[in-house]
Structure formats: structure tokens, C-alpha cells
Amino acid sequence: MTAAPVLLLCLLLLLAAAGAFAGRWPAPFGIAIARLVHGGCAAVSAGFALLAILALATGGMAPVLLPFGPPWAPLSLGLDALSAWFLLLLGLAGLAAGLFALEREVAVPPRRLLPWPLFLAGMALTLLAADAFTLLLGFELMSLASWALVASSPADAEARAAARQYLGFALFAAACLVPAVGLMGGLAGDLSFAGLRAAPPQGWAAVAVLALVLAGAGAKAGLVPLHGWLPLAHPVAPGPVSALLSGVMTKVALYVMARLLLDLGGLGQPLWWGVPLMVMGAASAVLGALRAGQERDTKVLLACSTIEHVGLVTLGLGLAATLRAADLGPLAALAAAAALLHALAHGLFKTLLFLVAAEVQHAAGSRRLDSLGALVHAMPAVALCALVGAAAAAALPPLSGFAGEWLLLQALLGAWRVGELGFQVLVAACTALAALAAALGAAAMLRFWGLAFLGRPRGPRTLGAQDAPPLVRAALAGLAGLAVLIGLLPGPLLMLGAGAIGALSGHPGLPEAAPLSVSPSVQGADYAPLPLAVLLGLLGAGLVWLCRRLSPQPARRGPAWDGGFQAPPPHLPFGDPATQPGADGFAQPLRRMLGGRLLAAHEAVHRPPPGDTAPARLESGFHDPLPGRLLAPLVALRERLSVAAERLRDLSLRRLLMLGFGTLVLLLLLLALLPGGGAR
């Protein structure tokens, strides 16, 4: 078992090398190599999933030292329960994305085949690392490979700008994480997890570590206010890549955050340790969900929804940290379980939804909601899988999204026991925001699925759409099945992940997890999804049976009633487009209610002058003001400083000599005037 992770990582490197050579071969070989790469990645991902399950069941694997590494210490790999939990996600999502790519990403240039296995390898290395340097190495590999994937997409200026910003944030993340790890390692510089865990940061160092990790891992995970790049970059990449970017990579960033802040640095921290996480998490959840309900592009919408769910997971992590600090072990375990379960669930259903968006783009030729519609007729299987995914993302019981959010709300509802009034008020606010985010997310998912798959077609291209081929269908169905399965069996899953919960909360596992139900405490309410599903099934079946008995007539088709409006003229085969709500129209209520302040939303009616018969136009829009407000001053400052630096370059030779002379004289003066120096 110890050799397995190394073997799998090496396989990925070999696949990357194979991908690099794909371009050198004529077409049939090139395609065969592409198939080999994607198939190989899927197989390796399956291996990761198996390994993770094995590790979860047997308690993991002790760190092993690799025979190479930086000059001061060798690299080390390990697999404990926390790593295994996230590795499971990587394996499952990677498998599905690989299968999808096997069908849709075969004829791609080698510059995209090369980074794909490296991307998987980077994520796996981050998860498998048993010391902080290896962790950062994997993290950077992941960032770079994914950047190469984003940057290698069809080259329009906007995509390149997105890739540039993506890279900027990735570097920023590294620039934050490296000093954070350095601070944790301290003077001794022992970066192994065991060494770091033994000496959690204290005092100002703890504050600095918290801020740096939050900024570093938070930027990669897309937490507000560092989320600006995410809705730009995730959609630019090809389908399976954006699926893994959103589904898994953000989780790897959360893993890094959890590992550094909760597991390694979490012991004996004060009460406020988790508060920044909670605040950022709640803010991300609301803003992400609100934006997801406003965006017009399916992939951008899904990326925004990722911000929401990442926020919810972070909220859970922060809560776990604080509850642990307050010695409320079982509650902390509950919050940690909520975070872990939701991370897993979101990773899978978001992978599903991104693959759906890619398949829809392939079939219907567009990502814009305003060009889709009525796809449920053309691609029923995809529509069904998408519905499961959207419902899970909308946190509907008994699917996977609800299980995590139920646990999270239960943890929030119990968190008042911490006793600090300020913290209690924060918890109340976070509870309200989490609920708001969940409901907003549901509205966004409804809008996504309803506009893309229901209604009348909004463009002729959608009529020619075809349902997915078997391989794609298998990938989608598998993910949909997992969304159901995780929703139905949170208890056994959390029992399996007891070690991971323990690592985050310091409490050995969720106390009240049973095969059929989970519960926050002995006297607390039970959530039993499997019986619930049985009950719903029975009731539904009963209703169907009853209606068959009472009302046996078959349904008849007729023109839509549509409030009595007349049938559309023949030159509008799909009806008047204006009578069907579009992406902006559907978003209008929430834009008016909440968008004004948070998203700088605006609406203006342009009426023609009296006598003009032109129709009035309604213009509406929004933009997320936060990233701009954050980045613009920094960019301006950098520009100012570069201009100032340039002035130094523009000097004549005489002045340059003066510069050196001045330095010398300054140093001599210092020497002359310093106490203990020349003029004693």
C-alpha cells in the first residue's frame, strides 16, 4: 500500500510525457495517444479512489520518505484519513472527468494533453503530502498545470486576461502560503506534519499564520473578497478541466486550509481562531449564490455557485475551529462533519454540472442561457442527470447537498453554547446568511436548469441537439448516482471519515452517526435520509396509484393557454421570444431586492421620444464591485512604483556614478557616525 501512491503519481507523470509527444505523431496515433492519456488518467483516478477508500477503512498509511527532495530534507508522502477523504473526491471526480474527456477531448492539441495529467498529479501530491514542503510543491504544480490548461484554450484576448489573472492569484496564494509554512516551521524548520502539529503557532505568529493561510488558500478556493478570478478563469477552460477546477481544485485549497489551520495549527488556539473563516465563508456563500442567480453564462453561473458552496464549507471549518477552542468537542465534530460531507458532495455534483454544461455547449453550441431552452426534449438523459445535480446543489432533501447543509445548520444552531455574546451574535448572523445562501443557491439552480432545459427553444441550434453518447452518459449518470448515494448514506460515510473529523475537531468522529441516520446529539433531531427517501417513494407511488384510479383519462396535448394570449405568428416558430423569461428577466426580482448594494445592479428604461413608434428598451446589468475595488488600487500602486523605479533607470551616466558615489558616502557617514564606529 505504501508503494501505491508513488506508483500512481509516476503513472501520471508518464502520461504527461506521453501527452507531450502526441503532437509529433500523425493524426491516428495522436488521437490514440490522447485516448491513452485520458483513459490512463481515468484509471489512475479510479486507483486514487480505491486507495482512499482503503485508507479510510484501515486508518491510512504512515508517512514514507522519498529518495529525493530539496537539499535540506527529502519529500515525504502519507495518507491519513483527512487526505484520504479529499483523495476520494479527487478519484471519483477525476474518473468521471476522464471518461468525459475520453469522448470529448480527444482531438486536442498536445499543449492541453501535457498539463492534464500534471494537474491531477499536482492535486494528488498536495493531498498525499506528509510535509509542508511537499504540500506546497503539489499546490504549485496544481496551480501551474491548471493555468496551462486555462491559458491553452482558444486564444481570445478575454481568455488570456482571465488566464493572466488566474496566474496572478495563484502566485499570490503561493506567496502567502510559503511564509505561513515558514512561520509554522519556526527556527527549527521541521516541516513534517508531525513536527508542525507538535508546535502550533502562538501569539502574533498565530495571527500571521491565520491571515496568510486564509489569504493564500482562500484565494485559491475563491473566498470573498479574493474570488474575482474564479468566475473568469473556470469557464475559460475546456469542460472536464473546469469541472475539476471548480469541483476538486477548490476543495484541495480547502484541504490545505483545513490541514494547516485546523489539523496542524489548531491545537490550543483561542476562540477567535475560526472567526475569520466563518465571516469569509458566510460572505462568500451569500455573494456567490446571489451572483450565480444573476449570471447569463452557464459555466460562469456554476463557477459562482462554487463560491457559494466553498463559502459554506469554510463556514463549517471555521465553526469547527471555534467550537474546538471552546471545548465543545462533539459540536466541533458536527461542524467538521458538515464541512467534510459538503465538500465531498459539492465536489461531485459540481463536477457533474460542469460536465453537463460542457455537453450542452457541445450539443447546443452555446453556454449562454439566452440561447438555450427546451433541451429536455432533445437530451433527456443529460437533463435528468443535470436535474439531480441541480437539485443536490439546491440543497433539496434527500440528495447530497442537503445532508451537508443540514449538518451545518445543526452545528450553527448549537453553537450558541460557546457562551461569548459577541460570538453568539456572529453565529446568529452566520446562520441567517447560510440559510439565505442556501435559498439563493436553490433559486440559482432552478434558474439554471429551468432556463436551459425547460420552456421553448431560444435558438434554432437547440433543436439539433443530440443526447450524450454512452461514455458521457455513464460519467454523468455515475456522478448523479453518487449525488443520490451520498445524500442517502451520510451516516456510514461519516463513520468511515471519523478519522478526518477527528483531525479537524479533535473529537474522535461524529458521536451520533448511525448507518441510517445522523444526529447532532443524543436528544437532538435525527436526519434519516434513507427512510425519508422510502417514505417519499411510497407516498409518490401511492399518489400515482390513487390518481390512476380516480382519474384514468390520458392527458391531451393542446396549445399553451399562456394567460389567453394568442398563438404566435408563423414567422416565429418558437413563439415570441419576448414572452418567455430570459436570463435577465428571471433574475430580476432578486436583482432588485438584493442586487443593488451587493452587485451594483442597475436598471434603466429607455423610452423613445413621444411620437416615435420604436419600442422602449429596458437595460439592466450588474457587476461584482468587490474584485475591482480590491485590485484596481493595487494595480495603480504597482504602476506608480514602476514608474518611479523607471525614473532611476533614466539617469545619465554622471548621475548613475553619483548614485554609486552617494551610496559609498552614505555608508562611510554611517560608519563615521554610528556609535562604536569610526568617531568613537
Partner: protein
């Protein structure tokens, strides 16, 4: 038998021979031959005892630098042979070029090998003169301007360094009893603890300002970008890869001596300050570059600053500094190799003229992309390892310095990667018509660059144990 002096004499002999060969292709091959001989001799040094031999010495600190110097000399000679047709030298200029190249290599080896500070100074001065000649070879006004600036600034710098050397000898003289021993690094190391700290500090100030000019430390860096950008393509590689190292090595020797008995201005603090200034200024200056070779010359200033910073911190960070020096030489010369070929292909060194290499020339494009990534300090190359160690040491010991350090690293890396995206991933620009093909074939450009990258990878991630031990010992010497 093998003697370290051979490493110096062979290139000097080469310089004489090459100055006499009129046919450029032959001279280029002979140049490769002499450089290969130098590299083999450098490898043979591994078998020699590490001890002082007359005016020369061999220890753990200069051994890796000598190996590197031999290697970079060889690869640059190969690359130089490949790009020679594109330079368009006349017969006289060609002879001068090859002779100066070998002269430079020999001087560089001598500067590293010298146990005598005076000899080291002479060697560095020689290397400077050789490189000034090479920079001026193209005779354009811009080249003359660059060379004049190089000469004037470094002339002053070298003068100040000599003054520092003299003061150091003066400080040691009562203890060593005068003679050559006053300038022997080994002897100075033995007596430095008893020497007058104020005088030693005075000496260090002059040595720092003097050799710091050569090493391109801000605010003494001004000659560097233009000198890198105006000479023949291969010169950028040896300037960045070797000359800067030799100068920094000289500072290190001085620091190792002075730090034994620090006066009012600890040498480490001065190096940290100058290192940070270099890092920050270069990081911001990178954003305003329009010329590709100047851009990466500025990045050399940044990296020299980083190495100086690490050595200034001392302790385990010295290891980071050493790794950084070695790694920077490797990746930066690789970068200049790939960039040189790209400049020939695209017919200009303005950034706007070069774009989308990955589309038009995939192998060259990816090589250049990897070299830039490595230069920006991204894994898995050795600069990542050294910058990581540097940052870790800095936050653990002087946390407030980590802030400007991190800022500088971030801003610089962002600028480099922005360039990377335009050079390699953006829309492809048109090739220049009639760009001459490389003289020995495409491999002569790519193989040196890729070899360097591979070595940088090994340096960062899989250093053989004996070499790691050697580096640790060297870090201990550098303090």
C-alpha cells in the same frame, strides 16, 4: 599532473590561439574544444584535495561554482557556435570575440580559484575588461553607450574594491606579519577574530560597493541591463551566469572574513539591505520593460539581490543563497539561450516582436516557457527550493523582512509570467524573413538550454548526497 592552475591557463592559452584563427567556423569549434577542456578540468577538480596551493585554493565554496563555470562555459560555447552566423561579425571582430570569450572564462576561473584577494581582484578586473570588449563588439551607438557605461561604472567599482582589499590587508598586516599572507583568504580567516573590527568594516564597505557594482546590486546596478542587452547573444548568458557569480563570490569571501569579528555595521545587515533594494527595484522595473533581453537582465538583478539577501541572513539561509546562485546561473543562461534563438527567429528583441512561440516553434516555446517559469521561482526547479528556504528562514528569524521579500518575489514573478504568457502562449507573431538557421543544427540551441533546466531540476529536487554535503559545507564557509 592535475593542478588547479591548469583551469586558468588552458583558457588563456585558448585566447591566444583563438586570436590567431581567422576562420570563424573553425574558431567556433576550437572555442567549444577549449571550453570542453575547461569543463573536464573542472570535473577533475573533484578529485583534488581541498587545500591552499600557493596563490590558489580549492574549497567547498568555490568548487561548485567552478564546476558550474566550466559547464556554462561549455554550453555557452556550443550555443555561441550556433548563433555565430546571426551575429554577423567581421573577421577581426570574430577573432576578438572568441579570444575575449576564452579570456573571460580564464579570468573567471581565476577569480574563483584565487586564495589571494589581490589576485582575485586582478582576475575580476580582467574578466570585466574581456566582457566590456565583447559588449562593444557590435559597434552600434547603443552598444558603445552600454560598453562605456559598463567600463566607467565598473572601473570605479573595481577601484573601490581594490581600496577595500588594501584596507583589509592593512587590518590583517599586524597579525599576519605582512607579505602575501595579508591577502590570503585562508590566513585572513585565521586572524580575523583579532583584527580591528572598525578597519575590517571599513574594508567591507568598500568591497561591498566595489564588487557589488559588478554583482549588479542596487543602487550600483545601472550598467547591467544595457550590457546584457547590447552584446552578442552568448554574452548575456555568461554575464548573468558567471560574472555576477564571481563578483558575489568575492563579496562572500569578504563577508566570511569580516563577519568573524563584526564591527558597528554588520556585513550581513548591509547585504540584506542591498539585496532587498535590488529585489524591490528590479521587481517594479520589470513591469516597464519593452526589450526582452533587458527584461531578463533586470531579473538577474533581482536574483542577485535575493542571493545577497540570503547570504546576509546567514545560517541555514546561506544554503539557500548558494542554491540560488547555482540555480540562477543555470536557468538564466538556459533562458538566454532560448531567448537568443527566438530573437534571431523573430528578427528583433523587442517584446512586442516575439509572441506565440508555442504555436510557431513548440519545442523552443516550451523550453523558453520552462526557463521563464524556473526564473520566476516556480517549482519544481531549484529556484523554488531556494526561495522557499529563504522565505522560511526569513519569517522565522526576521519576520518583518519577509514582507518586502514576499512582495518583491510576488511582483517580480507576476511580471515574468505576464511576459511568459505573451511570449509563449499569446498569438504568434510573424517570423523574420531569412533568419539564418543555427550553425550546428537546432539541437545546439535547445540541448544546452534543456540540459541546464534538467540540472536545475535535479539541483532543486534530487541533489545527490555527496553534492548536498558539499553544498552544506560551502554554506558553512559562506556563513
Amino acid at each position: 599532473m592535475m593542478h588547479p592552475a591548469l583551469l586558468v591557463l588552458l583558457p588563456f592559452l585558448g585566447a591566444v590561439v583563438l586570436a590567431a584563427i581567422p576562420r570563424q567556423p573553425v574558431a567556433a569549434l576550437a572555442n567549444i574544444g577549449f571550453s570542453a577542456g575547461g569543463f573536464l578540468l573542472a570535473l577533475a577538480l573533484l578529485a583534488l584535495p581541498r587545500e591552499v596551493e600557493g596563490l590558489l585554493h580549492l574549497d567547498a565554496l568555490n568548487l561548485p561554482l567552478l564546476l558550474l563555470s566550466g559547464l556554462v562555459g561549455l554550453t555557452t560555447a556550443v550555443f555561441s557556435a550556433a548563433t555565430l552566423p546571426a551575429e554577423g561579425f567581421g573577421p577581426r571582430a570574430g577573432r576578438a570575440y572568441h579570444a575575449a570569450f576564452q579570456l573571460f572564462l580564464g579570468a573567471n576561473h581565476l577569480a574563483l580559484l584565487a586564495d589571494n584577494l589581490g589576485l582575485m581582484w586582478v582576475a575580476i578586473e580582467l574578466a570585466t575588461l574581456a566582457s566590456v570588449l565583447m559588449v562593444a563588439l557590435h559597434r552600434t551607438p547603443a552598444a558603445i553607450e552600454a560598453a562605456w557605461k559598463f567600463l566607467m561604472l565598473c572601473g570605479v567599482g573595481i577601484g573601490l574594491a581594490l581600496f577595500g582589499t588594501i584596507v583589509l590587508a592593512l587590518a590583517a598586516q599586524p597579525l599576519t606579519g605582512g607579505g602575501a599572507a595579508s591577502l590570503s583568504i585562508a590566513a585572513l580567516g585565521r586572524v580575523a577574530r583579532e583584527a580591528d573590527p572598525a578597519l575590517m568594516t571599513l574594508a567591507f564597505v568598500f568591497l561591498l560597493v566595489g564588487y557589488g557594482t559588478k554583482a549588479g546590486l542596487v543602487p550600483l546596478h545601472s550598467w547591467l541591463p544595457d550590457a546584457h542587452a547590447e552584446g552578442p547573444m552568448a554574452i548575456s548568458a555568461v554575464l548573468s551566469g558567471l560574472l555576477l557569480n564571481a563578483a558575489l563570490h568575492a563579496i562572500l569571501r569578504a563577508k566570511a572574513i569580516v563577519a568573524l569579528n563584526p564591527g558597528p555595521l554588520p556585513p550581513g545587515a548591509l547585504m540584506v539591505a542591498m539585496g532587498l533594494a535590488s529585489l524591490l527595484l528590479a521587481a517594479f522595473a520589470l513591469w516597464r520593460r519593452r526589450d526582452a533581453r533587458r527584461l531578463f537582465a533586470w531579473s538577474s538583478i533581482e536574483h542577485m539581490g535575493l542571493a545577497a539577501f540570503a547570504f546576509g541572513l546567514g545560517g541555514p539561509a546561506a544554503m539557500a543563497g548558494l542554491l540560488h546562485m547555482l540555480g540562477h546561473s543555470l536557468v538564466k543562461s538556459a533562458l538566454f539561450f532560448a531567448l537568443g534563438r527566438a530573437i534571431v527567429l523573430k528578427g528583433g528583441q523587442r517584446l512586442a516582436a516575439i509572441g506565440g512561440l508555442n504555436l510557431s516553434h513548440p519545442v523552443l516555446g516550451w523550453t523558453l516557457a520552462l526557463a521563464i517559469l524556473a526564473t520566476a521561482g516556480l517549482p519544481p526547479f531549484s529556484l523554488f527550493a531556494s526561495e522557499f528556504l529563504m522565505a522560511q528562514q526569513s519569517v522565522a528569524r526576521l519576520p518583518w523582512l519577509a514582507l518586502p521579500l514576499g512582495l518583491g518575489l510576488l511582483v517580480a514573478a507576476l511580471a515574468l509570467l505576464r511576459t511568459l504568457q505573451d511570449l509563449c502562449f499569446g498569438p504568434a507573431t510573424a517570423d523574420a524573413p531569412g533568419a539564418p538557421p543555427p550553425a550546428l543544427g537546432e539541437w545546439a540551441v535547445l540541448a544546452p538550454a534543456q540540459l541546464h533546466l534538467l540540472l536545475a531540476l535535479a539541483l532543486g529536487m534530487a541533489l545527490p548526497a555527496p553534492l548536498a554535503a558539499l553544498l552544506a559545507e560551502a554554506a558553512r564557509i559562506a556563513g
